[in-house]
């Protein structure tokens, strides 16, 4: 893990977020920024989030913390204390970004809101990640992942039609918001680099979830049609006809759908050929003209007639066999991967996707997902594992701010750092 400057190598980010914003700073860190995670003395509450290394609940063993604070450095600081605020303001002077995910108005309330900080550093970009944004009637509404997923519209269209709407079991809403937060921060960054002016970026997680619901809004606005959940089927893209997305095979599931139009022809023909080879093709599919097959004219009855023999074909194989055949035959099909499958995936390996990061205090190294993009001139870099509690206090407080040993001792005893 060599020191490469990367796209944001000369910029610093002060990261005040909890799990609602971790990924935002992580993305900026992957791009090379010096991201300093600021925790309250004793460590962030988010360190209690599992899973844990070897299932041992311990603030220094949270895999959730590891995952989304990779590449950051860490200090402890009580930003509610007077001394802490002074130190924070000193850090703000030389910082380029502050990211936070407190409830709206909290930072203003303790004198560290955007207005106050921009006076210290007019170039500062401050990014606030909240469930519903910093203004509007719901700004003070409380929300966890499931509530934001509900309010943003993804929940309603997920699940079986006769059952309650379903969430994704791993919390997603604030990861979406954090990823967008990084993008919007970069927009503000580009503006700053050309104008010299910083600004405040106000991210609504609800609106980030709203980005995920495909054509649901225009479907309502134009046709007064409400997109409804349909289990493992796709609906609402063409006619009322539903297309099966999830198919059972011998050892799991694969993702596949029968698509119309020019885009689906190759896959559909290849599937029929495959069925022919296995003598599994029904009469009506033998000379089927896929070039005029159009989902817009497709009835459910016809769709089912096409899907039934395909389902029988898939049942003969394992997901690995199906994926390998699909690749040979140019069929749009993917396995439903387990974590094990993903860690062993040949494509990811051939692209050197995984990064091994050393955790000396655990006497081990851990495999993490690597770069989210490959840049030919400025590759993303992986420099540090997630910080231990207060790991870089000395580097920052002594090395940079020049606080003496005795001053540090006082601050530590007072619970400021």
């Amino acid at each position: 893990m060599e020191q490469v400057k990367g796209l944001l190598g000369s910029y610093r980010v002060l990261d005040l977020t909890d799990e609602k914003g971790f990924l935002c700073g992580k993305i900026l860190a992957d791009l090379g920024a010096d991201v300093i995670k600021i925790e309250k003395p004793g460590g962030d509450e988010s360190r209690k989030l599992g899973p844990f290394y070897r299932d041992i609940p311990d603030p220094e063993k949270s895999l959730y913390w590891f995952a989304y604070n990779l590449n950051k450095r860490g200090i402890t600081l009580d930003i509610e204390s007077r001394d802490g605020q002074q130190i924070f303001k000193r850090l703000v002077k030389t910082a380029d970004f502050v990211i936070e995910s407190f409830t709206p108005d909290y930072l203003d309330g303790i004198g560290l809101g955007y207005t106050a900080l921009s006076k210290i550093n007019p170039r500062l970009i401050m990014t606030s990640i909240t469930p519903f944004g910093l203004d509007g009637p719901y700004k003070n509404y409380k929300a966890t992942d499931i509530v934001v997923m509900a309010m943003g519209g993804l929940l309603y269209i997920t699940g079986n039609p006769d059952e309650p709407p379903l969430r994704i079991s791993l919390s997603q809403a604030f990861l979406l918001a954090s990823a967008h937060g990084a993008a919007a921060s970069m927009v503000a960054h580009f503006y700053r680099e050309t104008s010299g002016e910083g600004q405040h970026v106000d991210v609504s997680a609800q609106e980030c979830v709203l980005w995920e619901i495909a054509n649901a809004i225009p479907l309502w606005e134009l046709n007064k049609n409400i997109l409804r959940r349909a289990g493992s089927y796709m609906s609402g893209r063409w006619t009322g006809t539903k297309q099966r997305l999830l198919w059972k095979c011998q050892d799991g599931y694969v993702l596949f759908y029968v698509l119309g139009g020019a885009f689906g022809v190759k896959t559909n023909k290849a599937i029929v050929r495959w069925m022919e080879e296995k003598s599994m093709v029904p009469e009506y599919l033998k000379n089927f003209d896929w070039s005029i097959f159009d989902m817009a004219n497709q009835t459910q009855e016809m769709q089912d007639l096409i899907e039934t023999p395909i389902a029988n074909l898939f049942l003969k194989y394992t997901k690995e066999e199906l994926y390998s055949e699909a690749q040979k035959r140019g069929i749009m099909l993917c396995p439903v991967s387990t974590s094990k499958d993903i860690l062993e995936n040949a494509q990811l390996k051939s692209r050197d996707f995984w990064v091994e990061v050393s955790h000396p205090e655990l006497s081990t190294s851990i495999t993490y997902p690597g770069a989210f993009a490959k840049l030919s001139q400025t590759p993303l870099t992986f420099r540090y594992r997630a910080p231990l509690i207060g790991e870089h206090n000395l580097d920052i407080y002594q090395g940079e701010l020049g606080l003496s040993h005795s001053k540090l001792a006082i601050l530590q005893r007072a619970g400021v750092i």
Partner: protein
């Protein structure tokens, strides 16, 4: 006065469908000129899907395309004709960014791969969104975003315990890959401004998708544990779920984490006797008797409208939210207040809501500069005004069918 962040930046987008164009939505919404290269032979995929205005299936009546295409320009150009390609290359020579979201190989067929582009414009930034990246054994395997729901394992995290998983209906990664991709793209623009160097950005939808599943992947790599679907339950909150409310298919999500919230929840719904039962006293008790608890809570929620459940609980500081469908979202007071949708008259669609940006920048807010383009709407403008083509030259191409 408008402050356009990307004032003067020109993007030529050869891509289609969702992840690619949505990446460039950022640039368009903040003031760049983003040109979608399409043709009537090869319209954007989203122009061929519902909904259509008055259910008339025409490319300019497609709401799915228009919803995401605010602020963009469209040129119709047949790239399979030499003169079509010639114009495309002229566009590249004027561009800062060239984008593509086809299967690797498609751009190369047109001689528009990165190696071709740098001959035309040495400092070009090229961003390529594909399912599995530009290299590796599966690079050219065809697929759409929905397939990545499977490949990245997201489907395995949706469902009820011990039951068959349930697929998302949407191409989930397609809509968030843009957030990641654009951070790299904007960074590359800034890098070029400072160094004069362009570059190639290779974005794999699969690899970006995994960024939202990191804890479960690390859990496997460290503990050999496969994360499983848990219905709507949470390890940290109980009650936690989606509860049926009064009306047809109406639901409210509720999530109670702390004991203080549990107390507030009990008070808010009037402290019925059953809530004082010892089996619900502590979080551990509640977790143990979660199923029973959920059934009883639903007896209360089902007597109220979802909006009322949300209001009652939010008033006492308990996280709760209506499971909003499209109509709810369309009318949502919060989204309205934040001008989340950009509503404007579109000549084919009428009064139409375009999707905005999910954040507000205090000094340079994104806004609607122009409504979504009809196919080829700006062909003449781009050829004549941007590329400086003479009328004669343009008419010649027109007759030749280059713009069809």
């Amino acid at each position: 006065m408008d402050k356009k962040v990307f004032n003067g930046i020109t993007v030529v987008d050869f891509g289609w469908a969702i992840a690619g164009p949505l990446t460039l939505k950022y640039l368009a919404d903040y003031g760049a000129v983003v040109i979608c290269v399409e043709s009537f032979q090869r319209p954007d995929l989203l122009r061929t899907a519902t909904p259509y205005k008055d259910e008339v299936a025409e490319v300019d009546r497609a709401g799915y395309f228009a919803y995401f295409a605010a602020n963009k320009y469209s040129i119709s150009l047949n790239l399979n004709k030499p003169n079509g390609l010639k114009i495309a290359k002229k566009l590249v020579s004027r561009a800062d960014v060239v984008a593509d979201s086809h299967r690797p190989g498609v751009m190369e067929r047109w001689k528009l791969g990165y190696d071709d582009l740098i001959k035309i414009k040495p400092d070009i930034i090229m961003i390529r969104n594909s399912n599995q990246g530009l290299t590796g054994p599966a690079a050219t395997h065809p697929g759409l975003g929905n397939h990545i729901n499977g490949l990245a394992g997201i489907v395995n995290l949706i469902g009820w315990p011990e039951q068959e998983p349930i697929s998302l209906m949407v191409a989930y990664t397609d809509y968030f890959v843009p957030h990641f991709a654009v951070t790299a793209l904007i960074g590359a623009l800034d890098y070029r401004r400072k160094t004069g160097k362009g570059q190639l950005i290779d974005v794999s939808q699969f690899e970006v998708g995994l960024q939202l599943l990191t804890p479960s992947l690390v859990n496997y790599s460290v503990n050999k544990k496969e994360e499983k679907a848990k219905g709507n339950a949470s390890d940290y909150a109980v009650p936690h779920g989606v509860y049926r409310c009064k009306g047809d298919d109406r639901w409210c999500a509720i999530s109670v984490i702390t004991d203080a919230e549990w107390q507030a929840f009990r008070n808010a719904i009037g402290e019925p006797d059953w809530l004082r039962k010892p089996e619900f006293r502590t979080a551990t008790d509640r977790k143990k008797n979660e199923e029973q608890l959920n059934l009883i809570i639903e007896q209360w929620t089902s007597q109220h409208e979802a909006e009322e459940v949300m209001r009652i609980l939010q008033e006492v500081g308990v996280a709760a939210g209506v499971v909003q469908n499209a109509e709810d979202l369309y009318k949502d007071v919060q989204l309205k207040e934040r001008e989340c949708f950009w509503v404007e008259n579109h000549k084919e669609l009428g009064r139409f809501s375009h999707l905005g940006q999910p954040s507000r920048l205090s000094k340079t807010p994104a806004r609607l500069y122009k409504v979504a383009p009809c196919l080829g709407e700006h062909t003449e403008y781009i050829c004549r005004d941007l590329l400086g083509m003479s009328e004669e030259e343009y008419d010649g191409y027109l007759v030749e069918g280059i713009f069809e």
